[in-house]
């Protein structure tokens, strides 16, 4: 299998589908002439022209809404949020229109729309440019929300997203754009709503997604050196959510740690803890431990930023804690 970057996997999914289906167009700021701020769309304007790779003014609410209109009228637009931080300006269109149109039209219209862009922090972008919005958008019925972590998943899920008849919030792990991995040749999709067991293990389940997924794998190796056999679950899909895989894992390990960059309150980790205690109450040998970001807007200074996100040590400690080992 070819080895490509997360970024190239994304681009090739879009390019391939644009070749196959001319209802697919891209919209966003500086995705064309400029080449895309994160180079995800680089070169596509040369391949498909400005009618299909549409540079927009800085009007997130307007162009997201226009894309919803295009989708209602039979097209399959893909909107780039230059970063998800700007999507608060488009929240009304995403939440009030994209998510609900099918329902309040009594099924008369669908909104086959993908909104994609980098999510998460870690490069000193400070408070307004650092968010992890999985739970924020995951809350709303009518949306689908995914957060893949490998080149293989990001390509397969992007293809699935474009073909999906409903709006998909596609949260890319911005920090992973340059990471490489094997990607199957030819056309394939990765189904939404299925978590991926990234590593099997017997002693404790580590749950995460996006940028945390590779971190958890690394930590599992470290734990292994201490004789702890961790299972790693990469959620991938936030809505629909794969409770079964988590519950099954916990039935085996009886302990779980869930890790997220985002804030603790009313979050993905809250949900994971709630589900596990609901569905595997008698299987649990320790409370589910959540490891989350600090409850502060993201700071700029490097040392503060590092301290604002979960550290490997905190995750290791959490794993040891649910095993009642010394930390």
């Amino acid at each position: 299998m070819p080895v490509i970057t997360y970024r190239d996997a994304l681009r090739s999914a879009m390019a391939e589908e644009m070749e196959r289906d001319d209802r697919v167009v891209l919209l966003g700021e500086d995705i064309g002439v400029y080449g895309g701020t994160h180079l995800v769309t680089n070169g596509l304007i040369d391949q498909f022209g400005p009618r299909r790779v549409i540079d927009t003014p800085i009007a997130e609410n307007g162009f997201t809404g226009a894309a919803i209109g295009m989708a209602m009228a039979g097209m399959r637009p893909i909107v780039e949020m230059m970063t998800w931080n700007f999507s608060f300006q488009a929240a009304d269109q995403i939440i009030q229109n994209a998510a609900k149109l099918r329902y309040f039209s009594g099924g008369q219209v669908s909104v086959p729309l993908v909104i994609r862009g980098p999510n998460g922090g870690g490069v000193q972008l400070s408070a307004q440019h650092t968010h992890s919005l999985e739970g924020f958008y995951g809350h709303f019925p009518g949306l689908k929300v995914v957060s893949p972590s490998t080149p293989e998943d990001v390509k397969g899920m992007m293809l699935a997203a474009i073909r999906d008849p409903d709006p998909v919030i596609f949260l890319e792990a911005g920090a992973l754009y340059g990471t490489k991995g094997e990607v199957p040749e030819g056309d394939y999709t990765v189904e939404f709503g299925k978590a991926r067991v990234a590593r099997e293990g017997a002693d404790v389940t580590l749950i995460g997604y996006g940028r945390q997924a590779p971190v958890l794998l690394r930590i599992a190796e470290k734990l292994a050196a201490d004789g702890i056999d961790a299972e790693v679950v990469d959620l991938r899909s936030i809505r629909p959510f794969d409770s079964d895989t988590i519950v099954e894992s916990v039935r085996k390990t009886h302990r779980a740690v869930v890790v997220q960059e985002q804030w603790r309150w009313f979050s993905v980790a809250s949900e994971v803890a709630a589900i596990i205690q609901e569905r595997a109450f008698d299987e649990l040998d320790a409370p589910v431990v959540r490891v989350s970001g600090a409850e502060v807007p993201a700071p700029y200074a490097r040392n503060l930023e590092i301290a604002a996100f979960p550290s490997e040590q905190q995750i290791i400690d959490a794993a040891r804690r649910v095993l009642y080992l010394e930390v």
Binding site: F63, G65, G69, L101, F104, S105, G106, Q108, V109
Partner: protein, 363 residues
């Protein structure tokens, strides 16, 4: 180009397609039909809308219609005139004051009334209510409750028409209150921009009924010449007396032709007035005087048109017959709505996703 539209199921409710006579090729012009026969048939539509609204308002007062409901009474000449230019595959989209638009596009008043009554036979199966009427089989794409929110949608729909070379245009209705919302600014700018390349056949119809809820235009903006707001985006525009059906017809046909030919947006500000309170639940009208309302009622578009028809020599009995028939039609709609069953409770969980993936019930 792949032209299959995967819209999932289309609306299930019955409707009587009542497209206007324009059967020409998508690019032929439509002339306003200003002869007395044509005016009589438009008069009939306006009377039907008015009586529909009266019935709806009664239903609301009786507690049979719930939620928010906003009637169109006083503004009939605007949508009637503009939708006279409508032809397949055009689209229309508006905010929550949407009963008239959907009726003019041919939806069955029975299904519309049943929607207001929250019945399973409603136009959207009782899921949307008054603010969310849809009839895509007739080109009507809603029905939206968030002020400003539908404007970008309409601009996107117009783009899709040009991109797919359907020959259609989008009629995008908005209110004088909505024009101050950021969604208008962003969408209108996109429309002007895309229109430069012929990619935005969007006809903006600004229904200036002089109030956004209780806030008059003067209290909402320092530049009260609302049409001017389109100049920021290089969108050409004009004004029309929205109470005078004939005037609207002329402007509407010119404007629609122009948009169809150029692929560029155009805006018309129709000056009109709602003779009823903002919403069916509102009664205090501290923000305007009884005197002002009375004066505008003298320019009621239906009354004005009646006078025109008299001048044209239309018989009084013709008018009376139209009113009687319209009344009967609306009575029938009410009866249908009252007698229809509530939606099947299983419908609660459908239409969230197109594949009707199972979703969790309450509890």
């Amino acid at each position: 180009m792949a032209t299959t539209q995967s819209q999932g199921k289309r609306r299930r409710a019955a409707s009587t397609p009542a497209k206007n006579g324009s059967k020409g090729s998508p690019n032929s012009k439509t002339e306003p039909r200003l002869g007395s026969d044509a005016l009589v048939s438009l008069y009939q539509k306006m009377v039907e809308i008015r009586l529909f609204e009266d019935a709806a308002q009664r239903g609301f007062r009786q507690g049979k219609v719930g939620g928010y409901m906003h009637v169109y009474s006083g503004q009939e000449a605007v949508a009637t005139g503009f939708l006279d230019t409508f032809r397949e595959p055009d689209y229309a989209i508006t905010a929550y004051r949407d009963h008239a638009h959907v009726l003019l596009l041919g939806s069955d008043p029975k299904a519309v009334m049943a929607e207001l009554y929250g019945k399973g036979t409603g136009l959207v199966q009782g899921k949307g209510g008054s603010m969310h009427l849809f009839d895509v089989s007739n080109g009507f794409y809603g029905g939206y409750g968030i002020v400003g929110g539908h404007i970008p949608l309409g601009v996107g729909m117009a783009f899709a028409q040009a991109y797919q070379k359907t020959g259609g245009i989008t009629q995008l209705y908005l209110g004088d209150g909505a024009i101050h919302n950021g969604a208008f600014h962003e969408a209108a700018n996109l429309s002007g921009l895309w229109g430069r390349d012929g990619l935005n056949p969007c006809l903006f119809i600004l229904e200036n009924n002089q109030y956004g809820m209780g806030t008059s235009v003067e209290r909402a903006t320092a530049n009260t010449d609302l049409g001017k707001k389109f100049e920021s985006y290089a969108i050409e525009h004009t004004k029309v007396d929205g109470m005078d059906l004939e005037a609207v017809l002329k402007v509407a046909h010119d404007a629609a032709d122009r948009v169809r030919e150029t692929g560029k947006p155009f805006a018309v500000e129709a000056l009109t007035y709602r003779i009823m309170p903002h919403g069916a639940a509102d009664f205090l009208e501290k923000y305007r005087t009884k005197e002002e309302v009375r004066k505008w009622r003298e320019r009621d578009p239906i009354g004005l048109l009646e006078k025109r028809l008299e001048d044209e020599g239309v018989e009084e009995s013709t008018i009376a017959d139209i009113r009687t028939a319209a009344k009967a039609k609306m009575d029938e709609a009410v009866k249908f709505a009252e007698e229809s069953p509530e939606p099947d409770i299983a419908e609660l969980l459908t239409d969230v996703y197109t594949d009707d993936a199972p979703v969790q019930a309450a509890g």
